[in-house]
Amino acid sequence: MNQRSSNLLDEALGLDQVIEPWPLRGRVVAIEDQVETSGSFVLHHLLKRSLSPNSSNVTIFIAFSQPFSHYDRILRKLGCNLVSQRDNSRFFFFDMLKLQCPDGDEGITPEGGLIALYGKIHKTISALPEISWKNVSIIIDDLSLMEVAANGSSDYVLDFLHYCRTLTSEFDCSLITLNHEDIYSSEDRPTFFIQMEYLADILIKAEPLATGLATDVHGQLTVSNKGRNKVSNFHFKVKENVVECFYPGRS
């Protein structure tokens, strides 16, 4: 039931066929959303797919936005038990909320903190058997809060993202990030935001409908898959246990 409804999204991402080996390996997926249309459901969906029992995927989740309990609750409704996955070493949760906002005089600089985070991710992946490296997904929720944690220095965050990208070529793992478009809309040159669009192999945009709010449709998703040279657009509705995706006019 769940699989059937989200099929459009899976299709656009290449996840509708076999998911072992992980179809998104070596790719960077960037999710962009806005206040009116939150894109976290895409993140949850990808997390659920990567932790599916049909695959041996390992997920490293870097959370700046919510604690573990939040994701646990949501994924349980989608039919996935994060606690047991964590115990089985299929799910690694890096809780960045507990990270102190570093000041210069404590000896921990934003740059130092990000370097350490990169080191931790690298170490976690290297510790896995080599055969599972390409089945690793790194999920970051979300980039704008990472910028806050780095005291606003988007340069360090961009450096960190570059190094995360080298992980995708080194280990053939995948990188999935979430960022908010409207935070940067007031800047003349939203470099940080645009840089992510250049880096992404697959760009998923969650936007409101041009016609405004509606009860049956929560918004629209545009998926640009550069690897397959394909662009798809469809509407979505976020329900309690599932997300329904459908072409316009066919709810």
Partner: protein, 338 residues
Amino acid sequence: MAESIYRALRDGALEGELAPALTIKDSVASPFALQVFSHVISQLFSSILAGKSQSRGLVVVSFSRSPSFYLDLLKNKGTDVASSNKQIQILDCYSDPLGWKDQLAGSRNFTALSNEAMVSSNAIVFREVKHMDKLYNSIIELGKDQISSIFWLLHSDLHEARVTAVLEYLSSIVASLEPSHQLANGQRGDLENFSLIKHNSKKGKFHVRFKKRNGRVRVMSEEVHIEQSGINFASLPSEGAINQGLVPKVQFSLQLSEKERIDKANVVLPFEHQGNGKPIQIYDGRRSLVDSKHERPVSAVENVQTNENCGSGEIIYYRDSDDEMPDSDEDPDDDLDI
């Protein structure tokens, strides 16, 4: 037109001149600069291997792709990288540009992977990208010789306008990619807009501006098609239509008919020596008198062939340019790029 770019880079620097410098720039609306860059690099490398170009080697400074991307690209295009010896060198500013891996290896039990040690003989890792002088020195060291041509990829919306402008001034060739269709801002989510987005993801416009030695600037445009296999260039479909549109609609005919074109081509211009063995008649405004069998001496006629050596004066005439319509009333100084 992409051919012209390739030729300019292949022919390299002329004696006493600066090497050609190419900027390939794009924006997020048509992010195909990488495909164009890959296309140029593979063409140039083939000509280097074949010995057809002025340059004897290629140095790639890679920031956003791993060295294996370029090596695979060249291999896929059929060039034999393995036996290319030292003809391609890659300065790897991608794997560890800021030296983070070194820092981590020093402080904790960070295990550098074995495949990192398998650095190919073509790629050298560079870890101090923020030190511009060291970066520059490393590039020069790899290149060893004089530079024949240089080209770079630029994402114009990631930099301030003046940075992009400076790089354009430095370049002798600027190739920019633009979307086929401009999207209306603030009209997101339109079905029409989506079809434009879809169109823009597969096609784009490619504008190239050449700065010539004599100061003239030539602008050309083509269409690019992005396919799985790579990039294709085609001439703009509605070019004729654009030209037609520039001619104002007035009651007299401003274009030449075919017969007029032929007649015009047959006219002998005053100072063009098209002798064919007969004495050249230099028209001094009195041809009508000569024709009417006047007894006026034809003192105006000079027999060029016999007089060449007696220093009685010569008129040497070089046509200004062949690709300009003779009657074109464009200001020749109009396209100077100062």
